[in-house]
Amino acid sequence: MIINTILLYVDPGSGSYLVQVIIAAVLGALFYFKNIWWQIKAFFTRKKEQPPKNDTTND
């Protein structure tokens, strides 16, 4: 893609790109662990709900 740099008239600021890279990495890791946590939580909540289901199938 051709980006016309003349139009990027705003100074991004010293180190602003690096900040975004670090923040994105921190957020990526946070969201990753959050997902794992939700999966674990979902696994246990599903397990709790499962027994009645099994009971009905056994019947």
Partner: protein, 455 residues
């Protein structure tokens, strides 16, 4: 450029500029922005944003009105009757403007574009809601690049919000000094110790400040991705949403009418007389000075196109903004402005952002229970006030509060009475500029309501 002059605030972006011609505001698109403008229109981004009332609408005018060699297109945007500046907004106005900017950015990313700038000066409050007014802020999105306007967004939106949230004092008005945003080093120094527990403060303020101090070179361009940028936008939204103004629950003026010694009967009587006066004059736009909780602004809004409700008390204006939002009253614009020190003309050559007086055009000024504060608390002489009021609008409804009034006695207690302030001098000075169309004593008080028409 031959026939018309560029707007004094519209000089930064080479993509185009705003100008005034034939009494209308136009936007010129320069040749250099042709590809981006075409993409904005063809991608469906313009349609989607305008359909959702997020971006200002425009029509195309097939004429080079400026005679400029760089001319590609002329746009006629929806005409705005009043422009307010972020340093006149309350906390929730700046917060909603920040979330609006992020929402426009999110929609743009979906359509392959990005915001190349992110300043609250690109937002105006129209019909009670934030509206993005810069049609030339959109650029093609390169997924490998971070957001060029990230620092600008932080310094003009996030940092003032953080400062006001944590310090619990009016920090948004500092944007009139820091016109390009409150720098990260200032924000990092001012934020209290307890704020450093916040992940948002750690990442967007402290980390940014540390990296800035190391003066990182731009020669190595880090590779970014759309997912990373969306994570950043989501995070900014999630830290801004829970922020709240630190205004005290009760401020000097927030319960003025509830607590007034004169009580509800006084308000009812005043409303009856005011309605009588309003029936005798015509007005479309009103400036309500010292609007407080906006009770009388709402009364006037029923028969006018726009009411500017100004008050120096940030708590009152924030409450009024929330009320107007809830009740969907769209023709009242609440702003934090101290009438004894209204916004000056600032920016490059002192013309980039015009003064409050230059921007306001009202048919009627309402100044209820205000004049004693201006004369006695602010030491503004009556003749100066009369002249200033007369320059603002052709009609004035003003309440005169004499020295015998309890509120004035409170103002004078503990200080020398050096004021030539009585009903005779009031009438003498104001009648130099106005004809008294009606005057009436508010029953149960010694306050007088005047309906004045400029000579």
């Amino acid at each position: 450029m031959t026939n018309v002059a560029r707007h004094p605030a519209s000089f930064k972006d080479p993509a185009g500029f705003i100008f005034e011609a034939n009494g209308k505001i136009y936007r010129q698109v320069n040749k250099i922005y042709g590809h981006q403008y075409q993409y904005l229109m063809d991608s469906g981004l313009y349609d989607q944003l305008t359909k959702n009332n997020q971006l200002i609408q425009h029509t195309r005018v097939n004429e080079n009105l400026t005679g400029d060699e760089e001319w590609l297109l002329t746009l006629l945007p929806e005409q705005l009757s009043f422009i307010s500046y972020p340093y006149e907004w309350c906390f929730d106005q700046l917060k909603d403007a920040a979330l609006h900017t992020l929402s426009v950015l999110r929609t743009s990313l979906d359509k392959g574009m990005i915001l190349k700038d992110a300043t609250p000066f690109n937002i105006q409050y129209i019909n009670g809601k934030p509206l993005f007014i810069d049609t030339l802020s959109f650029d093609r999105y390169d997924e490998t690049q971070p957001w060029v306007a990230y620092r600008q967004f932080c310094e003009t939106f996030l940092f003032p919000l953080y400062l006001e949230h944590y310090l619990k004092i009016d920090c948004i008005k500092w944007l009139s000094n820091y016109i390009h945003g409150i720098p990260v080093e200032v924000t990092a120094k001012l934020l209290p110790w307890k704020s450093k527990w916040s992940l948002g403060v750690r990442l967007h303020v402290l980390l940014q400040n540390n990296i800035r101090r190391r003066k990182t070179s731009h020669s190595v361009q880090p590779v970014f991705s759309k997912k990373k940028l969306l994570n950043l936008v989501t995070h900014l939204e999630s830290i801004i949403r829970p922020l709240s103004s630190g205004y005290p629950t009760v401020s000097t003026w927030s319960n003025y009418y509830d607590e007034t010694i004169l009580g509800k009967e006084y308000l009812n009587q005043k409303e009856i007389i005011l309605k009588k006066f309003l029936g005798t004059i015509t007005y479309k736009s009103v400036l309500d000075l010292g609007a407080n909780d906006g009770y009388f602004s709402q009364l006037l809004a029923k028969n006018s196109k726009m009411v500017l409700a100004i008050d120096s008390d940030s708590r009152c204006i924030n409450n009024l903004y929330q009320l107007l939002k809830r009740e969907q009253l769209t023709n009242i614009v609440p702003l934090i402005i101290d009438f004894s020190n209204p916004s000056p003309a600032i920016g490059f050559s002192n013309t980039e952002r015009s003064s409050f007086g230059q921007r306001v055009k009202a048919d009627l000024v309402l100044a209820l229970a205000l004049i004693h504060h201006l004369v006695i608390s602010k030491n503004i002489p009556l003749p100066d006030l009369a002249e200033y009021f007369a320059g603002m609008a052709p009609q004035l409804i003003i309440e005169f509060v004499p020295k015998e009034d309890e509120k004035v006695k409170q103002l004078l207690s503990g200080r020398a009475d050096v004021f030539t302030y009585d009903v005779n001098s009031f009438e003498a000075h104001f009648s130099r500029y106005y004809t008294v169309q009606a005057k009436e004593l508010i029953p149960g008080t010694n306050r007088i309501l005047y309906c004045l028409v400029r000579k």
